[in-house]
C-alpha cells in the first residue's frame, strides 16, 4: 500500500497498577482507514488518546513521519479528533464551532516572514462553508449546536476536525450514540469522506460490524495486546485465535486434532479442510462459521445432532444443535423443529483451523445461547455506547 505514517513502538500504559497497554507495536499507513477493535477495557481508546497526545504513555515511543512526538502537545500535532460525545462547544454556533481550529492557526506573514499572522476572515469563511457542504450541512451555519440531531452534531464534529486539514483523523466510537439506521448511513458517509479527503482515519469501536464495513485494516485488541492485524476478510475468514474468531461474527469453536495437512479430526471423525502447516496430531481449535454449515438428512450427515432451540431472525433461522453435549449455532433458511434429529455437512473451505491459545476453551460453545445473546446486545455501558 502506501507509506508508513505513524508507528507505535513498545507502548506500555497502566492505570492504578493495571496494565492497559502491554508492549504494543503497530504501524499505520498514510491514507489508510484503520480500526482498533476490541471489547471494553482492551486499550483501544487509550491507544487513540496516546496518538492524539491527550495521554502520555508510561514507556515506548510514538513516531509521526519518523519523528518522535511523545512530548508534542495535542495542539501542535497534525492530528485532529472526533470525540465520543462530539464535544461541540455549546457557546458557539455551527459556523464558529467549525471555524475554531482555523481561528487558532497562525502562519508566517507574507510581507514579513518573521511575524505570524491570523488567517484572513475571508479564507476562514470560505473553508468553513466548503467543509459544511462536504458533510451536507449547508445552511446550518447559524444554528445552535444543541438544536441539531445526533447525526448532524456528528457531522459538525467531523467538519470541525477536518477543516484543519489534518494528516490523521482520530475517531473515538463516534457512532455509539446514534440509532441503528443512522449508524449504518454514517458508516457509509464516513468511508466516503475518508476517500474524498484522502487522509488516514484511525477509528475506535467495539462494534465488529462497523469495523468490517469501513476499514482497510482492522486491529483486534484484547487486554492491552494486539490479537490480530489484517484486512476485514482476513480477520473474518482466517482468525488467529479463539478470541478473534468469537469477537468477529459468530463462531462454533471445537476442539480438534490435526491429523495431517488438510485433514482435521473432531468428534472422532475426520474432516477434509484447507489448512496445513501443523505438526502431526497437534491439538487445535477448529472454527466453523454458522453460515458454512449445511443441514442434510441424518444418513448423509458427517455429524448428527438434535435441535434444541430455534430463533427466527428474518433472513434466516438461528438454530442451536446439540452434538454430544457441545452446542453449535447454525444459520439456515430451512426450518427444523425443536427436537428434530438432523445431519450436517461442512465443506472443506468452511473449516478454519487455529493453533491453541490462551483463549482456547473460553469461546465458541452455544450452550448458554440466550445469555450470550444478551451479552452481545449490551455493549460497554461505561464507554457510553448503547445499542438500539
Amino acid at each position: 500500500m502506501s507509506k508508513e505514517l505513524i508507528r507505535l513502538r513498545d507502548l506500555c500504559m497502566a492505570y492504578d497498577d493495571e496494565l492497559v497497554l502491554d508492549h504494543l507495536n503497530l504501524y499505520i499507513n498514510d491514507k489508510e482507514f484503520l480500526t482498533l477493535l476490541g471489547p471494553s477495557g482492551c486499550g483501544k481508546s487509550t491507544t487513540l488518546r496516546i496518538i492524539g497526545g491527550f495521554t502520555a504513555p508510561l514507556s515506548g515511543d510514538v513516531l509521526f513521519d519518523g519523528v518522535r512526538i511523545n512530548d508534542v502537545p495535542p495542539y501542535k500535532r497534525q492530528i485532529n479528533t472526533v470525540f465520543q460525545k462530539y464535544a461541540l462547544f455549546p457557546h458557539l454556533n455551527v459556523f464558529e464551532n467549525v471555524a475554531f481550529g482555523l481561528r487558532m492557526q497562525r502562519r508566517p506573514d507574507p510581507s514579513d516572514p518573521k511575524r505570524k499572522t491570523k488567517l484572513p476572515e475571508e479564507e476562514i469563511r470560505q473553508r468553513v462553508l466548503e467543509m459544511l457542504e462536504a458533510v451536507s450541512l449547508k445552511g446550518f451555519e447559524n444554528r445552535r449546536t444543541d438544536a441539531l440531531s445526533g447525526g448532524q452534531q456528528q457531522r459538525v464534529a467531523i467538519a470541525r476536525a477536518l477543516v484543519n486539514r489534518p494528516k490523521v483523523l482520530l475517531l473515538d466510537e463516534p457512532l455509539g450514540a446514534l440509532d441503528l439506521k443512522l449508524r449504518k448511513d454514517m458508516q457509509i458517509e464516513l468511508k466516503r469522506i475518508q476517500q474524498q479527503v484522502g487522509i488516514t482515519f484511525i477509528y475506535v469501536t467495539h462494534d465488529q460490524e462497523e469495523a468490517l464495513t469501513m476499514s482497510d485494516t482492522i486491529v483486534v485488541m484484547d487486554k492491552g495486546t494486539i490479537q490480530q492485524i489484517g484486512t476485514p476478510e482476513d480477520i473474518y475468514n482466517e482468525p488467529k485465535n479463539a478470541f478473534v474468531a468469537d469477537f468477529i461474527g459468530e463462531s462454533n469453536i471445537i476442539d480438534g486434532v490435526m491429523v495431517q495437512d488438510k485433514l482435521v479430526q473432531m468428534y472422532g471423525r475426520q474432516f477434509p479442510c484447507l489448512d496445513g502447516g501443523f505438526s502431526e496430531n497437534e491439538p487445535v481449535d477448529v472454527v466453523i462459521r454458522p453460515e458454512d454449515i449445511d443441514i442434510v438428512p441424518v444418513e448423509q450427515g458427517q455429524l448428527t445432532g438434535t435441535v434444541t432451540n430455534v430463533t427466527f431472525k428474518g433472513m434466516q433461522y438461528d438454530i442451536i444443535v446439540d452434538f454430544r453435549g457441545f452446542k453449535w449455532l447454525i444459520q439456515t433458511t430451512d426450518h427444523s423443529p425443536v427436537g428434530a434429529r438432523i445431519g450436517i455437512k461442512i465443506d472443506p473451505d468452511g473449516i478454519h483451523v487455529m493453533k491453541k491459545s490462551r483463549y482456547s476453551g473460553l469461546y465458541g460453545d452455544y450452550s448458554s445461547f440466550s445469555d450470550e445473546y444478551d451479552e452481545l446486545d449490551t455493549v460497554e455501558p461505561e464507554e457510553g455506547g448503547d445499542e438500539a
Binding site: T81, H91, F100, Q105
Partner: protein
C-alpha cells in the same frame, strides 16, 4: 395544556404569598401613601436629597463585587483543577466562616482593625509603622482603618466572597473535560483554551456570583454601621433609620426600598441579557 398545581405545592404557595408577595405589596402601598394613608408621590420627590447615599452605596457595592470577582474567579478555577480531596477540604474552609453568625464575624473585624487592634499592634511591633512615618515624615501612632469606606468594602468582601466562589466553582467543576481536550486538539494553547472555552462557559456562574454579592452589598446596613462607624451613610442605614431610627418615616423608607429594588432588578435584567445564549444566571 396548563400544568395543574399539585396539592403538595399548596404550603409553599401560602408561604410565598405570606412572606414574599405580601411584604412587597406592603412596601409598594407604603411608598405611595402619606402618614394619613392617602395617596401621594411626595416620598419619591423627597428622595433627591439622598442621591449621594444612593451613589455611595452603589459605588461601594460595585467595588466589593469587583474585588470578590477578582479573588473568587482564580480561586474557583484553581480549586476545580485540584484533586477531589483538596476540593472537598477547600470547600469546607470556604464555608466554615458561614457557620458563625454574621454579626460576630463583623465584630471580630472591628477588633482586628481598631486603632489599638490586632493589625495596628502588628504594624507597631514589626516596625512597619515607624518605617512608614520616617518614609513619609508623618507621626502616626496607628493606621486609622476603622470607620473608613475601605473597612466597609473589606467587610463586604469578607462576608460575601463565598457567594462569588460557590457559583463560579460549581459551573467550572461541571465543565465537560472533553471540551477542553477538543479545544487543545483544535490548536488552542492554554491561554486560548481558557479565553475561548472555559471563560465563556463559566459566565453563567460569574453572573450569578455577581448577583449574589452585589445585591446584599448594596443593601447592607450592619457592615457599614459597624465598620464604617455610621459616618458614611449607606442605603441600608438610611432605610433602617426610617423604620427604627430617629428619622421615623416608614413611608419614605418604603419608597427608598422600592427604588433600590427596582434599580437592582433592572441591573440584573440588563446583565442577564448581556450573558444571554447560555443558561440564565440565577436571580436570587
Amino acid at each position: 395544556m396548563k400544568p395543574k398545581l399539585s396539592r403538595f405545592a399548596i404550603p409553599y404557595v401560602i408561604w410565598m404569598a405570606l412572606f414574599v408577595v405580601a411584604p412587597i405589596v406592603l412596601v409598594v402601598v407604603y411608598a405611595f401613601s402619606n402618614d394619613l394613608g392617602g395617596f401621594t408621590l411626595e416620598n419619591f420627590s423627597k428622595m433627591g436629597t439622598y442621591a449621594v447615599v444612593f451613589g455611595r452605596s452603589f459605588k461601594l457595592a460595585l467595588i466589593a463585587t469587583l474585588i470578590c470577582l477578582v479573588i473568587g474567579y482564580p480561586v474557583s478555577y484553581m480549586m476545580s483543577r485540584e484533586g477531589e480531596r483538596f476540593q472537598r477540604v477547600a470547600m469546607v474552609l470556604i464555608m466554615l466562616p458561614m457557620w458563625i453568625n454574621f454579626l460576630l464575624r463583623t465584630y471580630s473585624w472591628m477588633s482586628i482593625l481598631e486603632n489599638n487592634g490586632l493589625l495596628n499592634q502588628v504594624f507597631q511591633k514589626t516596625g512597619l509603622l515607624s518605617l512608614y512615618n520616617s518614609l513619609f515624615g508623618t507621626s502616626l501612632e496607628y493606621f486609622p482603618m476603622m470607620n473608613t469606606q475601605g473597612a466597609v468594602v473589606l467587610g463586604m468582601v469578607y462576608n460575601y466572597l463565598p457567594f462569588m466562589i460557590l457559583p463560579i466553582y460549581s459551573v467550572i467543576v461541571k465543565l465537560d473535560g472533553s471540551l477542553v481536550e477538543a479545544a487543545r486538539d483544535l490548536g488552542a494553547d492554554g491561554v486560548n483554551v481558557f479565553r475561548r472555552v472555559i471563560l465563556p462557559l463559566s459566565l453563567p456562574g460569574v453572573l450569578s456570583g455577581i448577583t449574589m454579592v452585589f445585591v446584599p452589598s448594596v443593601s447592607t446596613f450592619a457592615i457599614s454601621k459597624m465598620l464604617g462607624g455610621g459616618t458614611d451613610l449607606l442605603l441600608g442605614d438610611l432605610i433602617e433609620q426610617q423604620f427604627l431610627g430617629g428619622a421615623y418615616n416608614p413611608q419614605l423608607g418604603a419608597a427608598i426600598s422600592l427604588v433600590m429594588m427596582v434599580i437592582v432588578v433592572v441591573c440584573m435584567v440588563v446583565m442577564n441579557r448581556f450573558g444571554e445564549g447560555e443558561e440564565q444566571a440565577v436571580i436570587l
